[in-house]
């Protein structure tokens, strides 16, 4: 039951983009077409799940025993950057077609603060290994949901009569803000009702 709650929490209630405002760069930058948005969403989900596991291990088996927990941000960035590089190499070797499809998005994830964000949230919330992994996957799905919704809105916006001064990124940010307002309907009370 707790895991279902985690899923609902990180997909809807504290959606990484729309509630915590992390990962806004790809949210605006890669949401011009739904095709690339889905690609980016899947890549981020994959990296988030892996990063959650590895940062958990680094934190609990390296930093905590050595009393160096204040180095968590630095070491997490180090780990995530190398992880993304490694994932890129493996995908390029084993699945060139997927590599072509993801293209520039893969290395871009290195600088995606949402990945670092969920790693740090896992620590502050004190999650166990499985809980961290679940939170990582759920946040990735939440990110995918937000960016895919956004890309569909932006595809419609391209045909809409938008004032010149609002065209492009400004109207995208306004739409994103309205989406975030809509996501406020998902709150802790809803979760309590759902799970009893």
């Amino acid at each position: 039951m707790f895991y279902i709650g985690l899923f609902i929490t990180y997909i809807f209630i504290s959606n990484i983009v729309l509630t915590q405002f992390l990962g806004l760069c790809p949210f605006i930058g890669v949401s011009k077409s739904s095709e690339s948005a889905i690609g980016m969403g899947m890549a981020v989900t994959f990296v988030m799940a892996l990063a959650s596991i590895i940062t958990y291990l680094v934190y609990h088996f390296l930093l905590v025993p050595l009393n160096l927990t204040y180095l968590q941000t630095l070491s997490f960035i180090l780990v995530i950057a190398s992880l993304v590089q490694f994932v890129e190499m493996v995908i390029q070797k084993n699945s060139p077609s997927l590599y072509q499809a993801l293209g520039i998005f893969l290395p871009l994830i290195t600088t995606n603060c949402a990945v670092l964000g969920i790693a740090l949230i896992n620590i502050t919330e004190g999650y166990t290994f499985m809980q961290s992994f679940t939170a990582g996957i759920a946040s990735g799905i939440g990110f995918t949901l937000a960016i895919v919704l956004m890309s569909n809105i932006r595809e419609q916006l391209d045909m809409a009569p938008v004032r010149k001064s609002f065209k492009g990124v400004p109207i995208a940010f306004i739409s994103g803000g309205l989406m975030a307002l809509a996501f406020m309907a998902f709150d802790k009370a809803l979760l309590a009702n759902l799970l009893g």
């Binding site: 390296l62 180095l71 190398s82 590089q85 490694f86 493996v90």
Partner: protein, 265 residues
């Protein structure tokens, strides 16, 4: 002491990850096609798609595998074809003749009639959906410039009269503008052609006269009086047949009553 400890831990963590990555880079090294990379360097890199492949990399790949033929790159011209042939070790063969886009219409708003005033999306295909555009002539240019937007080399621009014109020197012959044009008024002509008939209207002469001052009225003067001009009148529209001699084309252009035979460059 604490600082030193932190320094060592982060340093060794970074070193470990770096070593791991360099080992992985060796292990997962992807063999790249040397020939394809060499060809890719020669290709113009415009990624225009004129060859029918997704970008220059796609064409270079296919060339190195031998699944396609040399000479499909129109922006590169003869020099590129020769260079590629020398890399592949095959005879150069003949490069395709350089073709450039030409807008077969000079009917800007001052010289041609309008049925109504179009106000809407700044896109030719959107304007075309509404009674095939605001101009009375349904064959001509909408003058909204969707072709300007798709041109990868900025060869298309609007002149002071409001007509859309293609710069034949800059045009690389990728045909993107001909695909985006809803009236097909942009057609490819050989670069060597000095003149072109700037009209696309297949209506009878009387109809054309009423709606446009610069349209072809199919009077046959160019074809009959100047047999060496290369002009052919078909379906109430004159056009230049570039496979024929065109020694008299300048005189035919001067004699054209609506002056719709214009210099191509």
């Amino acid at each position: 002491m604490n600082i030193l400890f932190a320094f060592i831990i982060i340093g060794s963590l970074g070193l470990l990850l770096g070593l791991g990555l360099s080992v992985a880079a060796k292990k997962f090294a992807v063999q790249k096609d040397v020939v394809a990379e060499e060809i890719l360097e020669i290709l113009p890199g415009a990624n225009c798609g004129a060859c029918g492949f997704p970008g220059c990399a796609g064409y270079a790949d296919a060339l190195s595998k031998g699944t396609t033929e040399n000479g499909l790159c129109s922006p590169g011209g003869a020099q590129t074809v020769e260079d590629i042939a020398s890399i592949l070790g095959i005879a150069a063969g003949e490069a395709q003749e350089k073709m450039v886009a030409f807008v077969h219409c000079t009917g800007h708003a001052a010289v041609s009639k309008r049925d109504f005033h179009y106000e809407g999306l700044d896109s030719c295909s959107a304007a075309h959906l509404l009674f095939k555009g605001e101009a009375s002539c349904k064959y001509g240019c909408h003058h909204l410039g969707s072709c300007i937007d798709v041109c990868p080399v900025d060869a298309i621009h609007r002149n002071e009269l409001g007509n859309i014109v293609v710069d034949p020197e800059a045009c690389i012959g990728c045909k993107k503008c001909t695909l985006v044009c809803p009236t097909n008024v942009i057609k490819m002509i050989p670069y060597r052609g000095s003149h072109a008939v700037a009209c696309n209207n297949h209506d009878k002469g009387g109809v054309v006269r009423k709606i446009c001052e610069v349209g072809c009225i199919a009077c046959n003067i160019c074809a009959k009086k100047f047999p060496e001009s290369g002009c052919v009148v078909e379906d109430f529209l004159s056009h230049c047949d570039y496979s024929k001699p065109d020694t008299q084309i300048a005189e035919a252009a001067a004699a054209c009553p609506t002056k719709c035979i214009v210099e191509a460059h």
